[in-house]
């Protein structure tokens, strides 16, 4: 093995090592902890960028380790992994900063940051996993590491949420386990991207492959919050805001969505999946989830719950996108993976800011809040507009590709779904924005935290604003060489050019 082959492992370790070390620190060693966290996060971002150049130059990064018999632990960096790894690396950095500010002075921070870093490790691992086994390992790892964060507050509600969370994720995990083993039995240890193994089996094992597909979808669907397996997501919102922001809006749910992408593209391959008539039902399921999530979001008064249902809805764009054959629509789905992450994390940061600064949690309490927290609400507004799909924000770009791709594939019904969802997004976001900016406050704010010059401590403000600006930037400069869109396009093209 040369150095390149160790790099995937090192990328994973950049969050694992600080995470583990943090457990050995004393609760009050804030400085060391922060330094460890931020160093890890920065190093990870740098490494991911370095690897991006490497991959563009055509270098390969593959770490193989035999667990035993035929189980193989394989980390491999391809463009798709980079897409997800970059997202989680950057957002980890931002969220770490946020979490430092958010949890200032609260108990059990050591535990929080330790598990937080380990969660990121898991999601990075999911990104870099090179075969189904490795994917599954990190997938379950993620479940476990997230649990302490969900129940972090230790309240009855949090514990209950943790229980619900576990029922779903462990359930999904075991189903996925069965699926992965089954897949393994059928094909042996196969790397992602090698779809020929299954194709060769297609003729005689059609029914088996169909059932297997749905077993895997059921397993992944829990984290991807596909209807009717999404029930955990709104409940898990009792976790502290950084957790909701990074994990529940991005890492965990993306793990599921990312898994679906891998499943369709890198395990079955679009052609086979289409031959077996698997894609349309998946797309319909995703479409239903999109509408359902939006409808449910409409009636939530709790801001974080509203955002959670919005996540349910927005995530299924990815599933729907990969379930429609075509380069354009695949690009849309992939870029949504990144864009949705940016926008949703902003929204959650803002919700966290509101809760942390003013102690407000309900949509109905937000009248006139724009005057008290202009920057926060500005970021919120940008992100919400993005979610609706308004240009020139990130969400527009994904919807544009999904929409045009849908037309291209001759399935204009998905455009109808997209637009209906946009309308619903507008219906649940615009009232919030309107209330925040154009209504006058009902009463005096009960201020929980203040900063001297800013509306709220900079560690809370900066991440929100930064991600909001990023989601604007990636939309405005979508066509540049450096945008997520470009990367997504390369990935999508590589899928469709390999046949």
């Amino acid at each position: 093995m040369n150095l390149n082959d160790w790099i995937p492992l090192i990328i994973v370790a950049t969050s694992l090592v600080p995470g583990v070390l943090i457990f050995f620190l004393h609760e009050n060693q804030t400085g060391v902890r922060t330094a460890l966290n931020l160093t890890g996060a920065v190093v990870k971002v740098l490494l991911v960028f370095a690897v991006y150049f490497g991959v563009q130059r055509g270098e390969t990064y593959t770490f193989r380790y035999e667990i035993g018999v035929d189980l193989e632990f394989l980390l491999h960096i391809d463009l798709l992994s980079l897409l997800f790894a970059t997202l989680s690396a950057i957002l980890w950095l931002v969220t770490t900063l946020y979490a430092i500010g958010y949890l200032e002075g609260s108990p059990y921070r050591r535990r929080f940051f330790g598990f937080f870093s380990i969660c990121v490790t898991a999601s990075t691992g999911i990104a870099l996993a090179g075969n189904a086994v490795t994917f599954f390992i990190f997938y379950e790892f993620l479940t476990l590491a997230t649990y302490p964060l969900v129940v972090h507050r230790g309240t009855e509600e949090a514990l209950q949420a943790g229980r619900t969370y576990l029922w779903y994720t462990i359930g999904g995990g075991t189903v996925l386990f069965v699926g992965v083993v089954w897949l393994f039995v059928l094909t042996g240890s196969v790397d992602f991207g090698d779809t020929e193994a299954l194709q060769a089996l297609a003729a005689e094992n059609e029914t088996q492959l169909v059932i297997l597909f749905w077993v895997l979808v059921a397993g992944l669907g829990v984290k991807a919050a596909l209807f009717p397996l999404h029930g955990w997501l709104p409940v898990a919102m009792v976790a502290p805001a950084p957790v909701s922001a990074l994990l529940h809006a991005v890492a965990v749910v993306k793990a599921g969505a990312f898994g679906l992408v891998r499943l369709v593209q890198d395990i079955y391959g679009v052609e086979l999946a289409e031959d077996l008539n698997l894609l349309t039902p998946l797309a319909v399921l995703a479409a239903f989830t999109i509408l359902y999530g939006s409808l449910r979001a409409l009636t939530q008064d709790d801001l974080k719950k509203r955002l959670a249902y919005s996540t349910v809805s927005q995530l299924s764009y990815i599933a729907m996108g990969v379930a429609i054959p075509g380069v354009t629509v695949a690009t849309g789905a992939l870029v949504h993976l990144v864009h949705q992450g940016l926008m949703k994390i902003t929204l959650f940061f803002c919700a966290g800011n509101i809760a942390e600064t003013l102690g407000l949690h309900k949509v109905s309490e937000l009248n006139g809040i724009g005057r008290r927290l202009p920057l926060t609400m500005g970021a919120f507004t940008l992100a919400a507009f993005g979610m609706i799909g308004l240009p020139p924000l990130a969400g527009f770009i994904s919807k544009w590709y999904l929409g045009i791709g849908g037309m291209e594939a001759g399935q204009s019904w998905i455009v109808v779904v997209l637009l209906a969802s946009s309308a619903l997004n507008a219906a649940y976001f615009l009232p919030v924005i309107h209330a925040a900016w154009f209504r006058s406050p009902d009463r005096e704010w009960k201020i929980k935290r203040t900063a001297r010059f800013l509306e709220t401590p900079w560690t809370l403000l900066l991440p929100a604003v930064a991600t909001a600006v990023t989601s604007l930037t990636v939309g405005v400069f979508a066509a540049t060489e450096w945008s997520p869109l470009e990367l997504a396009r390369q990935v999508a093209e590589s899928w469709y050019s390999r046949r």
């Binding site: 308004l390 849908g406 204009s412 066509a479």
Partner: protein
């Protein structure tokens, strides 16, 4: 670079808007200066050529052609002047900075959508304009403004959805992001008919087309006057511009929507005038007049989609018409602000207003006359039944417009003026400038920008044709208003939105009643399921008892023997 300046300059100025918080004059200067680059570009005073920005959006391209040059000039002029007007108008406003910010944002969007050559930038700017106008609509924060804002927003979002659907399809069919490629692609595409319809609906919301106009008489009047002016003068033209991009002009219409457009346009021209006549607020009357005028432009577009018309001529005529209407309507809207603010010299103001009104109605020597002529020219090229129909109805449309605007003047006159006036000059000057521009500029710009609307030769027949509707309208008004001013029935603004609103709220209540607003959880709640399973008292007891039994020696003994026997038997099985 000029293109970026056109769009970005207002955007940048919007960021410094707070600097002009207290000073009306500085604010006026700021708001009008923002339109300067656009004006320069529109009049092609600086060299303009199409420029591509490959990294922007999905690869942006900006440029101008003749009709869009006219529109940009219109937008820049109107916006600049309205901005200057706003400086003074908002001197006692609670949130002048907010107004300025969104005014500039909407300005940027409007300029952008006019100069955009590619779909994403066009749509982006379109959206920016739409959403930036919302705060302008609800700026006064009165209940009416809120209601209007709500309806505006719903309609705007709905319009965007239709629009983007149509754009997705058109872009996909054209396999190009450029706006110029859309219309041919739509004409050729298999589903072009549907795409075009979607586009017509989507832009139709903005253009105030029948039957999507009802937000307009609510939203335009409640906005602060300068905002009303730009809303009614320029923003509704954005819809028209959109139609122009999508509709295949000057060729046999493959889609069959041309007739629909003509009929709906005529309906708008007369219907809106009729409804507007029975309004009580002068600004609402003006809004209806805008719908009516847009109806005529819709007719023009419909005719342009018939065979025989030349694309350039249709576009030119439309641009000229829009230009004239935009300036004049802007002038009238500003005029309502002036007439409400001055205490002395109301008569002069009324005279100015009348001039503007005549300009819209197409009175002789006004820009409107030229615009109407362009309309006629295009109509005469249309195939047979439509040509006669439109040409025959046109004078009556003028009559209707004249009646409506007469009613408007009457309402203005009746409206009590301001008691204490401090600086009407800040209001009067921009208004006067705009009125003058509305009268003169169409004549100058027609050749200057190469719109190629033929200037009619002087003839008494033409004079008569242009004048009699005005005179007749004046006569009817004098009689009618004298006779039955008290008895004049009045219609609610937004007309049929009122029953719709009631219906919607009834449906909402019904849905709430039926529990539909809170649909069941819908997910498989594994935790609850497990709870339920574990809470099944009987089953649990059964299991507990079974476990207790299993630890009794007697039971164990039986099981032991059974299992041993089971194995022995199984040894004989296969």
């Amino acid at each position: 670079m000029i293109w970026l300046l056109v769009i970005l300059f207002p955007l940048l100025l919007s960021l410094v808007a707070p600097a002009a918080e207290g000073d009306a004059r500085r604010r006026g200067a700021l708001l009008s200066a923002a339109a300067l680059p656009a004006l320069l570009a529109g009049l092609a005073i600086v060299p303009v050529e199409t420029a591509a920005f490959p990294g922007l959006f999905l690869g942006a391209e900006f440029g101008l052609d003749t009709p869009r040059g006219a529109l940009l000039t219109l937008a820049a002029l109107l916006w600049g002047i309205a901005g200057a007007f706003a400086g003074a108008y908002l001197r006692r406003d609670a949130h002048p900075v907010r107004f300025a910010f969104f005014f500039l944002l909407a300005m940027s969007g409007t300029f952008g959508l006019i100069v955009a050559q590619d779909v994403p930038s066009f749509y982006t700017c379109f959206v920016v304009m739409t959403f930036a106008s919302y705060p302008l609509v609800i700026h006064t924060a009165t209940p009416e403004a809120r209601r209007a804002g709500r309806i505006y927003l719903v309609m705007a979002v709905a319009g965007e959805l239709f629009l983007i659907f149509s754009l997705y399809g058109a872009v996909q069919a054209a396999d190009s992001l450029l706006l110029v490629d859309l219309a041919p692609a739509v004409a050729d595409a298999e589903n072009g008919r549907n795409l075009l319809l979607l586009g017509l609906i989507g832009f139709g919301v903005k253009a105030g087309a029948v039957p999507l106009y009802f937000w307009l008489p609510l939203a335009h009047p409640v906005a602060p006057t300068p905002a009303s002016a730009v809303l009614s003068g320029v923003m509704i033209k954005a819809g028209l511009l959109g139609w122009l991009h999508l509709a295949p002009l000057g060729q046999p219409d493959p889609t069959g929507w041309a007739e629909m457009l003509i009929v709906l346009g005529l309906l708008a021209a007369f219907g809106a005038a009729a409804i507007g006549f029975f309004q009580e607020d002068p600004k609402t009357t003006l809004a209806y007049s805008s719908i009516s005028q847009m109806g005529l432009m819709t007719v023009l577009l419909g005719l342009g989609m018939k065979a025989g018309a030349s694309e350039a001529a249709v576009a030119g005529a439309l641009a000229l018409y829009a230009f004239n209407h935009g300036l004049a309507k802007g002038a009238l809207f500003l005029g309502t602000g002036v007439v409400a603010a001055v205490s002395h010299g109301r008569l002069w103001v009324m005279a100015g207003l009348a001039t503007g009104a005549i300009g819209i109605a197409g009175g002789p020597l006004t820009g409107g006359a030229l615009a109407k002529y362009g309309l006629k020219e295009t109509a005469s090229l249309a195939p047979s039944p439509w040509e006669n129909l439109v040409l025959g109805l046109l004078p009556f449309a003028t009559l209707a417009t004249s009646l409506l605007l007469g009613r408007f003047l009457w309402l203005c006159w009746k409206k009590p003026g301001s008691q204490a006036e401090d600086s009407p000059a800040g209001l009067v000057l921009p208004w006067a400038l705009l009125t003058a521009a509305a009268l003169i500029l169409p004549w100058w710009l027609n050749p200057y920008l190469g719109l190629d609307v033929p200037v009619p030769a002087f003839s008494f027949a033409a004079w008569f044709e242009a004048t009699w509707p005005l005179v007749a309208a004046g006569a009817i008004l004098l009689v009618a208003l004298r006779l039955s001013e008290k008895a004049l029935p009045c219609l609610p603004p937004g007309d049929f939105i009122v029953p719709i609103e009631r219906l919607v709220s009834m449906c909402g209540a019904a849905a709430k009643h039926a529990g539909l607003r809170y649909p069941a959880r819908g997910s498989i709640d594994l935790a609850a399921l497990s709870d339920r399973l574990l809470a099944l008292e009987d089953a649990r007891e059964l299991m507990d008892r079974a476990e207790a039994r299993l630890s009794r020696w007697r039971v164990v003994g039986a099981l032991f023997i059974l299992i041993a026997l089971g194995f022995i038997l199984a040894a004989w099985a296969i």
